[in-house]
Symmetry: none
């Protein structure tokens, strides 16, 4: 018998959206199972007495978000959900001077740009965003032009709390969320707030150094407690006087390692035993492509003190300038004392915040997250497969299961920088990884490269990798 989605609401909603929702419900609810075939566009349209267009549009939407796939001229089929529904989105930008590419530098336009922090803005929902922005500007500008809550708009924080729970397993009240324009800004306030709690901060090595450096600038000593691409050694952690540890369990930088669950538990145990604090940078948290989604540290054990840090730069656009941290209850009072004294002021546009709130309320955000994850998953797979094939025997791809870049390991006496420079004139951009290792041995035979796939077209990946392989032929 023909499957027919249950379009309950006659509703003012556009038909294709109602359809999309109904089918999604049936997929998530299990009524439609992997590899089930959906009715053909025409059949369903006829059944529902509508034209084919809304059906087609709804199907396309579901395909973009990874719920189903099209087999041309054969039908539409439900996909295997690679991870449980609704558990992943994107995280915060690998922010920083690393990200900005000055105009002169961008001049020799890269034909194959494997920069690690380029995002794919082809799918940026510009029209929706513009509509919401204009609507906000017209309807609420009088109110929103004034100063607002320095912690961020209450409405946005509420949406954010709900989202973080659903997608990242973060458990918090909106009151625990602090919104700010930039990660350093938030981390600086945090460092000031925690000054009496610890003389230093335990950090990963290598790591993305923004958080460590923010704390160092406030006078904290840094204690590296990991070996390259290995897990945290709790014993080594115990040897330091640090009562704060900063980690990025979703996607360790730059290796891409995902902290396994048991290690998370150990870390939380350490924190509880020592009344210590964990700063969880959820960089790459939303972009996990394979395997079970691992919930954020923050939500695993609420009796441990975890500060969860994230933002919208990577998942939506850096232009929003909206980042956030989730404070544990224990830090709320101290933080508010500090922020009042330092006259902490709002730093993210209220109009943007309100538009983003609407964007989330209306479900655009979750759709976008799924769409982007799906897109990046494809790119990630293509890149990993192509690299494996092309560099068989001489190189190795490691930890390509999350984030917007992967690591390519090559044994060669040549220097990383030399090899990076060699391909640049040919329009290929890749980056050396060793500079991020504080004990980096640049003379080791084992060289590592950061290959990003966010900004490059899916179709250009194979070609780009082939060119890279050719150009590196002399070195391997």
């Amino acid at each position: 018998m023909l499957y027919t989605p249950n379009l309950q609401s006659p509703s003012h909603l556009p038909v294709y959206i109602a359809l999309y929702e109904a089918i999604k419900r049936d997929i998530v609810g299990g009524k439609l199972r992997p590899s089930d075939r959906l009715p053909s566009i025409r059949a369903l349209a006829k059944n529902l007495s509508i034209s084919t267009t809304p059906v087609e549009t709804a199907y396309q939407q579901l395909i973009a978000e990874g719920f189903m796939e099209s087999r041309p001229r054969r039908g539409f089929y439900i996909t295997q959900l690679p991870d449980s529904y609704g558990k992943l989105t994107l995280n915060d930008t690998p922010s920083s001077s690393l990200n900005f590419i000055p105009p002169e530098d961008a001049a020799p336009v890269y034909s194959y740009d494997f920069h690690m922090s380029k995002n794919d803005f082809i799918s940026f929902p510009l029209r929706t965003w513009r509509r919401l922005l204009n609507h906000t500007l017209l309807e609420e500008y009088e109110e929103l032009l004034y100063y607002g809550d320095p912690l961020g708009e209450a409405g946005l924080r509420k949406e954010l709390a709900a989202y973080l729970y659903r997608f990242r397993g973060v458990v918090c009240r909106p009151e625990q969320i602090v919104i700010g324009a930039e990660q350093h800004l938030l981390m600086n306030y945090l460092a000031i707030t925690m000054k009496d709690l610890s003389p230093g901060v335990a950090v990963e090595n290598p790591c993305y150094p923004l958080i460590p450096f923010a704390f160092q600038a406030q006078g904290y000593e840094l204690f590296p407690v990991t070996e390259a691409d290995k897990g945290i050694l709790i014993s080594r952690l115990r040897d330091t006087p640090a009562r704060i540890v900063a980690v990025s369990p979703s996607h360790q930088f730059p290796g891409g390692r995902v902290m396994p669950f048991h290690e998370r538990l150990e870390l939380l145990e350490w924190a509880k035993e020592n009344h210590a604090y964990i700063i969880e940078d959820d960089y790459g948290g939303e972009f996990r492509y394979y395997g079970q989604p691992i919930p954020a540290l923050q939500g695993i054990d609420l009796s441990a003190n975890v500060i969860y840090v994230g933002g919208f730069s990577q998942i939506l656009a850096p232009d929003l300038c909206i980042h956030y941290m989730v404070l544990p209850e224990a830090l709320l009072e101290p933080f508010h004392k500090i922020r009042r004294r330092l006259m902490f002021e709002l730093s993210s546009s209220r109009i943007y915040q309100r538009a983003l709130q609407r964007f989330m309320e209306q479900g655009h955000f979750e759709k976008h997250v799924r769409r982007m994850r799906n897109l990046y998953r494809k790119k990630n797979r293509k890149l990993a497969d192509t690299l494996e094939a092309q560099f068989q025997g001489v190189g190795e791809v490691i930890n390509a299961e999350a984030g917007l870049h992967l690591l390519l390991k090559i044994r060669t006496p040549a220097s990383e920088q030399e090899m990076v420079d060699a391909v640049r004139p040919n329009g290929i951009r890749v980056a050396a990884a060793t500079p991020f290792y504080s004990d980096g041995k640049p003379h080791s035979e084992e060289k590592k490269f950061i290959i990003g796939f966010g900004g490059i077209d899916l179709e250009k990946i194979e070609e780009g990798v082939s060119r890279l392989r050719e150009l590196w032929n002399p070195y391997v």
Copy 2:
């Protein structure tokens, strides 16, 4: 055949009203029956040789009154006639002004809000701003969604440099300007940059403590070097080990004192002699209402090291989240070292920055500055005059020549807070000034209040002051 309403009267009536009447007639008369479909807007417009707008307006009118309904993207259909037909027409809608009830959440509305940092957004150039924003969003979003120069958009910095020179006498290259979302953010980076230059910061007392606190949080000691509402004593400055002094010469907070020219020269002399640095917070610099404009310290003597600090919150709107500092040449290298290490990232929306750049390029900004200065001048004069008159003999207005607030001095044994609280229930908001004096003597007979005029309507000032005077009668 296409239904066409009978527009008999060539008439003086607006087309859309004639149309509305004609269609209504046909509905009431039974020519159009329930669930009949009306011609599409374009079809009817073409048929009548008019534009679509009147047709649409007429349709909307009829929808609002329940005669027909819109089925999005399908057409307009006649509804069942509301049974109350004949009781409701467009024209006997009750006058809204009598029945209008303000929304609940506007509850703690102040009838007379003398808050010091409220701005007047009545003259905010919303249409222009929206146009520029939309234009930027449409034309340049691809470029601007991505990370940009952490120092701020080059184009905006260029415009800003030109503006600062013309309006404030600040002499700088665009490369000396750093743009950020929030003052604390910039001041924190500055404090880190200058850490080796001075063990402490000389500050005014009283002052707006944002900058001092930002430095204190970085471990600097604070040395107050002024007496209430007096000038800086260079001798006292010399007694401190501080090689940095933070001042707000345009409008000393909260007293409103403007630093006279000779004092500026002395201060610059001190800085040169001691290779010291002056942080010039030009808070309120644009709002000087009487006398010769005094140029910013920064431009008076380029051989002294002055960091000029400003922003767009007051002059345009806090929502922009765009602040800036102008670094002296000597600090450029050290600053860039720090910002690279700390991974200083852009924190103000590029789209906003670009829109603001256009706003300045097209001359809107200077017009706006002049318009606002003019408006605030009127308010300032009215407030000062009224206060002088009403509080004759018991109070005194001081330094009402700049900024968005003035100071009212009253001799009374009552506490400032008590008096502030006494008027609040009556819808009047003023603030106590003593909390800003680090050596504040709350028990002195001389009480000071901060009376802002930015957010209150010009017409309500007299009334508000009168109410204030009455309510404070018991205290003076």
